[in-house]
Symmetry: C2
Subunit: 420 residues, 2 copies
């Protein structure tokens, strides 16, 4: 029986040309984040099934690749459900493993801890263009900082990284606070216990518009009074710092004291400090999917492209699930695969990726000559040059074309008898 | 119920100090390999179970983490064996996925193709010190080159990378050829069909010595004549190039024509071209575990440390399992985790890892001042400096100690009232 050549469903092989772009982007991101004082860490790709299924992951929990128990632990006959057969699974994001990591290692880490984590995650999503079942996430998080210094650093670092990857583009950071969302819902007359459900509908604003959101909320049985009041409120505030303060005044008594001022200060400080072409926009309709957010939430979009290229927020209650003691936490995730696609689509070439040399020698050349060619190549490499040494193929033209695809543009040819 | 803080059995969290060393080693390896013209590629961590269980992986196939089928495909009631529940698993090495990759993408790759692959692999080994169930492999392979130019390039590139990571150390490359091993066994009188079994015993030479190997072979029922003849033969040849040629003469008629000269040429060329302090040693007892090797095999050790730090060989018949047409292939794998351990144990510090600055500001400082501190930090970062900005903790001394562990050695402190 011959073996399977294609990758498993929904996953893919990455060719050298794309890898060059991926490596370039990752290096830009890592260099930027390190300059802000973020430290690289790593967590295992495999996580306890109990942690993965602990309701921190929302819908992603339905998409887990579960790993089978091994040896004696695997009892096929006694197993009644899927969960009897599995004690671990592939992580679906980097935030849950980071929280476990911090709970496990806090004594050996500074406080606050600025973490940088890059790694694969897996989700058994329906395969579709540009969406794969294995993909890279690239997160920074600040753990143990309750002040909005965390949000400010995260936004500055991420927009700086993005602007290094895509110079000349302008960025928009939409920003909101889960506490403002909650206060708006309660103020408008939605039942407190339904707030999460209301958010799920509001989160569709981008796709179905205000009318769609209104229709769905009415469909779900909420009174027209509450629905209109809430939607009106969302339009009342301007999208700048003064809008945040206006919203704070409107929600006075319902909204947690200081929450609006906290958000206003984040926007003001980033505006003052940032040297990136980036606009901060207060968006009271911004929800973000994950259930674990407790405060500020943000999302970055790039001029000329739909959707977001980065997003994150504050999740002050996840680490407490591991330790019993809540620890403030705030994170930002760059949409790495999205950015790769954008650069591929716009025909990006890696700076300095040229100048690779291929030295081809004729078949049957005596060993003495080959040795001296190789010695010369070794010297060139110590000077930082990239030199590939290979035997010339019969079809030299095709060989050079193929090498050209990998960025080889300089060729040297060596023949048994020197060409005169 | 609180969640699990520890990583899953046999896997581990990696702290920032070790990550710095890992990143440093990986960058050295990647830079060196790229300068030799190797191109980065990536394969999914998840592989078809049929491929993983195709007898290419030897004992590693017993250590596979199997992933459960999903949705309708998972039929718990109809499942009779473990294999009915799983259609994929985590890769146990990078060679099998590379072969699948090449079979799948050869039309879009140059020939020969020089691949560089770095990634996690998983083996459910019994956990023990320094051996984990998830670990990084770091491989280079040359596919489509039947000449010994492949072996020569691989040995030059790998010893160059190792010498950049551990400057001042000397290396030994032990080298042999599976065809020589086979010829020795047949020449000595072992039955042709038992050759693989004989190798398994010979492979234990390092651990149980010549006497142990002899005893085990006799135990396995082989005649003393064959055993003595084979062990004598292994000692007859000197460990240099002339030894290879001597062996070739001794095995004349049994050994494939040109095999000894091929190996001798590899040794001669590397000796001439290499500028690394590395000794090539012909070792007719070298076997290497994996069953898929068909020709040259090699293993690198480093002065002052037991065991090997890299190994590889030629496997000309694996890609044919996917395509039906054999393709010459040769690879070298650096023992990345072993090298990390060596550098950690010898107290290695990453060059240029110092000079990280932490700027601490007093709690309650007005926003105006914080903004100007942050603006100054932004400027410093654009000059390539690493600047962490954080609020000063109550226990400033402890905060600095913890930051010191992450490599921060320069501190600046900012107070509400400037110290005079």
């Amino acid at each position: 029986m011959s073996l399977k050549k294609k990758p498993v469903t929904g996953m893919r092989d990455i060719l050298p040309a794309e890898m060059q772009i991926r490596d370039y982007i990752l290096n830009q991101i890592k260099d930027t984040y390190r300059s802000f004082g973020f430290s690289s860490i790593e967590t295992p790709c495999v996580e306890h099934i109990e942690n993965l299924l602990s309701k921190q992951g929302g819908d992603n929990e339905k998409l887990i690749f579960k790993i089978m128990k091994r040896g004696e632990k695997l009892n096929l006959e006694a197993a009644e459900t899927e969960n009897d057969l599995s004690d671990s699974g592939l992580r679906y994001d980097l935030t849950l493993p980071l929280s476990r990591y911090f709970a496990n290692n806090a004594a050996n880490l500074p406080s606050p801890f600025k973490a940088l984590q890059v790694g694969n995650v897996w989700r058994a999503d329906r395969p579709q263009k540009g969406r794969y079942r294995q993909f890279v996430q690239c997160d920074i998080d600040i753990l143990g900082d309750a002040t909005n210094q965390a949000e400010i650093e995260l936004i500055l670092a991420t927009t700086t990284a993005l602007s290094r990857i895509c110079p000349g583009r302008s960025f928009t950071v939409r920003i909101n606070d889960r506490r403002i969302l909650r206060a708006m819902a309660v103020y408008s007359g939605f039942p407190e216990e339904d707030v999460e459900k209301v958010f799920i509908t509001v989160d569709k604003m981008d796709k179905i518009g205000v009318d769609g959101v209104k229709a769905e909320l009415l469909d779900n049985g909420y009174g027209e009074g509450a629905v209109d009041k809430c939607l009106d409120l969302m339009e009342k505030a301007s999208d700048d710092v003064s809008g945040v303060r206006t919203m704070g005044e409107l929600l006075n008594g319902v909204l947690e004291e200081g929450a609006a001022e906290n958000l206003a200060q984040i926007m003001e400080t980033v505006n003052r400090v940032s040297d990136v072409d980036c606009r901060l926009v207060f968006d009271p309709t911004l929800v973000r999917g994950m259930g674990y957010y407790t405060g500020t939430i943000f999302e970055v979009s790039m001029e000329g492209f739909d959707g977001s290229v980065a997003g994150g927020g504050r999740y002050d209650r996840m680490i407490g699930k591991f330790t019993g003691i809540d620890t403030p936490a705030c994170g930002f995730s760059i949409g790495f695969e999205r950015i790769v696609l954008i650069l591929l689509d716009t025909g990006f070439t890696v700076p300095g990726g040229n100048g690779k040399e291929a030295w081809l020698f004729e078949k049957g050349m005596d060993n003495e000559r080959i040795c001296s060619i190789m010695k010369e190549a070794m010297e060139a490499r110590t000077q930082g040059r990239t030199v590939l040494v290979a035997q010339m193929n019969k079809n030299k033209k095709f060989q050079k074309e193929q090498l050209g695809k990998e960025g080889y543009q300089e060729f040297r040819e060596f023949y048994k008898e020197e060409l005169k």
